[in-house]
Symmetry: C2
Subunit: 221 residues, 2 copies
């Protein structure tokens, strides 16, 4: 099995690098479903429109991996990426904001996959509390956030409130001990040092479509 280096500096690793690792994982998951056992960085790059030098560089950064001239073993590459991304154990999520987006994310397998589990969906609106979601969770009061984070061992907070509530909810999440927060509210918010805050911007996807509508659809579709 590949050897994972433990002494790299997280401050040198960009969001885009980690996003590429996720993309590589998606690719090798598909290769595995297709029964493909080994693949070279060139073939991987060609198949998924990636950059083969970048693939080798990204993977080499985290340890020794790949045998020159032999290509990658798909199953080992998958394990390696799962380990790098910290997906070998379940990560638990609390969502605050039980509007359409929060409820959609609760039972949206493309969001959670196998490694993530939504353990609570909270709201401040009394009329929503106690409602059941299609995923089978009951909406709970945001006042119970610290207790829920602690008891259900949540590590990730997801904010799906309106913009004006997002910073307050973020502060509550930080106080409750969450170290990783994903914000879907359409505002810029801040978290203190030691807490990782990311905002999701779905417009990136629409802008990609706009780019290709403007300049022509690539052959690969």
């Amino acid at each position: 099995m590949p050897h994972l280096k433990r002494d790299f500096n997280v401050n040198t690793i960009s969001e885009l690098t980690v996003a590429r690792l996720s993309i590589y994982l998606r690719c090798v998951e598909e290769l595995q479903r297709l029964g493909i056992e080994t693949i070279s960085s060139q073939a991987l790059a060609k198949r998924y429109h990636l950059n083969s030098a970048q693939i080798r560089k990204d993977l080499a950064y985290f340890g020794e991996f790949g045998v020159r001239g032999m290509g990658y073993n798909v199953s080992e590459l998958r394990q390696y990426l799962i380990e790098i991304l910290g997906l070998s154990r379940e990560r638990r999520i609390v969502i605050v904001g039980a509007g359409n987006l929060g409820i959609a994310l609760c039972h949206y397998s493309r969001f959670t996959g196998e490694s993530f589990l939504v353990v609570g969906i909270l709201d401040s609106n009394a009329s929503k509390i106690g409602e059941s979601t299609p995923a089978g969770l009951l909406v709970e009061s945001v006042s119970r956030l610290p207790e829920i984070v602690h008891q259900r061992e949540a590590e990730i907070g997801v904010i799906t409130t309106p913009g004006e509530s997002a910073q307050g909810v973020c502060n509550l999440m930080v106080e409750a001990g969450l170290k990783a927060i994903l914000n879907f509210a359409p505002v810029q918010i801040k978290a203190p040092d030691g807490v990782l805050l990311r905002s999701v911007d779905l417009r990136v996807h629409l802008e990609e479509l706009s780019f290709f509508l403007t300049h022509g659809i690539p052959d690969s579709g």
Copy 2:
């Protein structure tokens, strides 16, 4: 104003390159809000944890831009990115699948921004048709897709159906003449040549959080 090259080959441009252009646009929008008028690629890279050589390369690819040693004019850079991304005119969207995610995307400004407008939300479920959404649209029948695409000049289709309906909806969108499709359903689907199909995988964001929860939160948060 910068000069945009028109003769580049779209087949040489990856999804990741275009995603970076969107990220650069988000950055310069923020710089503009902050009243910053010029910025070097180094300062831009440092502020937003990007790669300055990559920024210069990405921007240079699309034409002549930037004056050596002077940094970029923020307002011009914004215009340049808007032009490259094809955002100088409105793009109209039809969503098929009036579940929580579809309805959330209808009125989610982080999804649509200023350059995109949702002009229809359609479903095949008779009990949903005629319902009004918080965004003020009425849910319409998916059988009206061709007519709605044509009359409202929609260019982009968004699929938010359950997985098992996604391929069928994609086929209908292609028949209706849509050339760009964004799939949120948690399945792999296909579109013919000449149609750009992208699937959104929100797990990438959770996996980034998992990565940093595993290896340590970077200083920048």
